[in-house]
């Protein structure tokens, strides 16, 4: 929208305006809005633990046994006692070796590439009705329990900031992190692009009874 000259001009103008009113003089080259983040503020919000190397994992620890107790209390209602998943809630364990199948079962054990990601996700987003309310120890314990359900760590495993980054997840090497697209090379043909005899309907949504209504009140249909 603005070129760099216009932007510096804009910045100068804003700074002139700020100089006239703001009590705190901005450093040269800056707007000076907002306040410096305090260590206390950072401690409360800087919650991320990095997936591949665990940087950001806090102090604390948890055992598989403790995890089974917290899980029964906090998680099993949706995820099932052994991570099998209730209803349409995610299955957390099993599915090993199914990723090439017609119906793959991606779970923590069969799909997730990094163990510290599990701690980070439970800590920030679970349990769903009360996210980010568990202690670091309980999150470590749950992480240990779910890894154990997937036979990735032994019964005596203790999860902490040192042990989690060392856990090798079974599917770790199956990910590529650079986007290979475009991977289709369609051509912009305009006429006689196909033999009309080859145009066949392979599938239709007609009669499948999966479509909620799109008029009137919201539909509540559930699978047969």
């Amino acid at each position: 929208m603005f070129n760099s000259r216009e932007r510096s001009l804009l910045l100068c103008l804003s700074l002139l305006a700020a100089a006239g009113t703001a009590a705190d003089a901005a450093e040269p080259g800056h707007y000076g809005y907002g306040v410096k983040a305090t260590p206390e503020q950072l401690a409360g919000w800087d919650i991320d633990a990095r997936g591949d190397d665990g940087v950001g994992l806090p102090a604390g620890q948890g055992t598989v046994q403790k995890g089974s107790e917290v899980f029964a209390d906090q998680c099993a209602a949706c995820h099932g006692t052994f991570g099998e998943g209730e209803g349409r809630f995610p299955k957390l364990a099993g599915g090993m070796g199914t990723l090439r199948d017609d119906r793959p079962e991606p779970t923590v054990g069969s799909y997730w590439p990094f163990a510290p990601t599990l701690w980070d996700y439970i800590n920030r987003a679970m349990p769903m009705p009360a996210p980010h309310t568990l202690s670091a120890d309980d999150v470590y314990a749950l992480t240990a329990y779910i890894l154990n359900l997937n036979d990735i760590v032994p019964n005596e495993f203790v999860a902490d900031r040192n042990s989690l980054p060392k856990v090798k997840m079974p599917n770790h090497d199956s990910f590529t992190w650079t986007d290979p697209r475009p991977d289709t090379m369609a051509k912009p043909c305009m006429s006689a692009c196909a033999d009309p005899a080859d145009i066949k309907i392979m599938s239709t949504a007609e009669g499948r009874n999966l479509t909620p209504r799109t008029t009137g009140p919201l539909d509540t249909m559930q699978p047969k």
Binding site: G34, A37, A125
Partner: protein, 440 residues
Amino acid sequence: MRGNVRPPPWRNMPVVSRLAGTRSPLLGRRSFLGLGAALTGSFALGATRGNAEPAPSSPPADAPWSQSIGAGVVDRPYGKPADTEAGVIRRNVPWLTAGTESSVSFSPLQDLHGSITPNGLFFERHHAGRPDVDPAQHRLMIHGLVERPLVLSMKDIMRFPSVSRIHFIECPANGGMEWRAAQLNSLQFNHGMISCAEWTGVRLSTLLEEVGIKKEVQWVLVEGADGAHMNRSLPLAKCLDDCLVVYAQNGEALRPEQGYPLRLLVPGWEGNVSIKWLRRIKLGDRPWYSREETSKYTDLMPDGTSRGFTWLIDAKSVITFPCPEKPLDGAGLYEIRGLAWSGNGRVKQVDVSVDGGVNWQSAQLHEPVLTKALTKFTLPWRWDGRPALLESRVIDQTGYVQPTISQLRQQRGSNSVYHNNSIQTWQIKPDGSVFDVQLA
């Protein structure tokens, strides 16, 4: 003026004298509106049958709303659609997710016109429900590998130089239920996880320059204030290129469903990276590999490998009329209408086929044709009443051509969930009904 009190002009008017069988000299406004709605309803039904039966409020009759005074200004201080549009709403697929909190709703594309999505109809994707955030307490923290970690209030953010840009947001799972076969007979449910708005806010680059980017920074973590603390990693280059931190959509404050009071907007990339209820930005040297970029939003290939960090929305288009929700009403001249978009820039060309992709004709693109925004296209079509297979195909400014579902499956199988940007085929039957089909 205040002293000149006159009786309200409608006091003595025979408002509804021409309503069939009604001789009541006065009808309250509520009753009138009720009748009006009923009449409009029957009119809408009658309309599909042409002018066969005279409607009580169509010519030659003078309608009741033409013989009465309407509601005054501020009757509805915040405007809303006509009562008869009550069915034009976001809808969900109840069987798709365990609950509605981590779920999606779809925009009713079949009832939308033009390229801007009304704020109340913008599709939703929440990962832990819609939080109701108090803007007075909301803060944006920017920290990590920076010179000056900052905490900004909404007031602070709105003081920065502002920009307004029109961009689409699309969930990469849009069309995700159709990888294996045609399943849902609906434009809304197969394509409704795309919407487009004018966004106003501050460039992310402005904020990052304000805190001072340390030289080792390569990646940026963005995180929401919702219960999911939804977080994604973004390359610094994209953040400095065209990302915005926005507080307004289509001229008013963001809707809560779209991240009120503050969200990130990452133009042309999958919707979930445009973090809603944005509260934290952290600069770092490596990606974070969060759950939402490892377990989810990665694409499983037939050989068991997975693609991560597939952010780009490839070019896509769809015919929005006719569609399963809006069938044809007998042979004759129609305007085929649709939308096209690309995460890689502008739409260059849209072609339409009525024979399942054997022959194509270029459609007219309607201004404005903007980068990473919805573009409207139309093509006049005289339907002869025979079966037809309608398709649209977009080519974007990079020359990329929208693929068929078969071409996509050849590369990615049918379990990759995300990024289905294939050509949509609508089957037209002789009675004018329209079905979602997939071709060989």
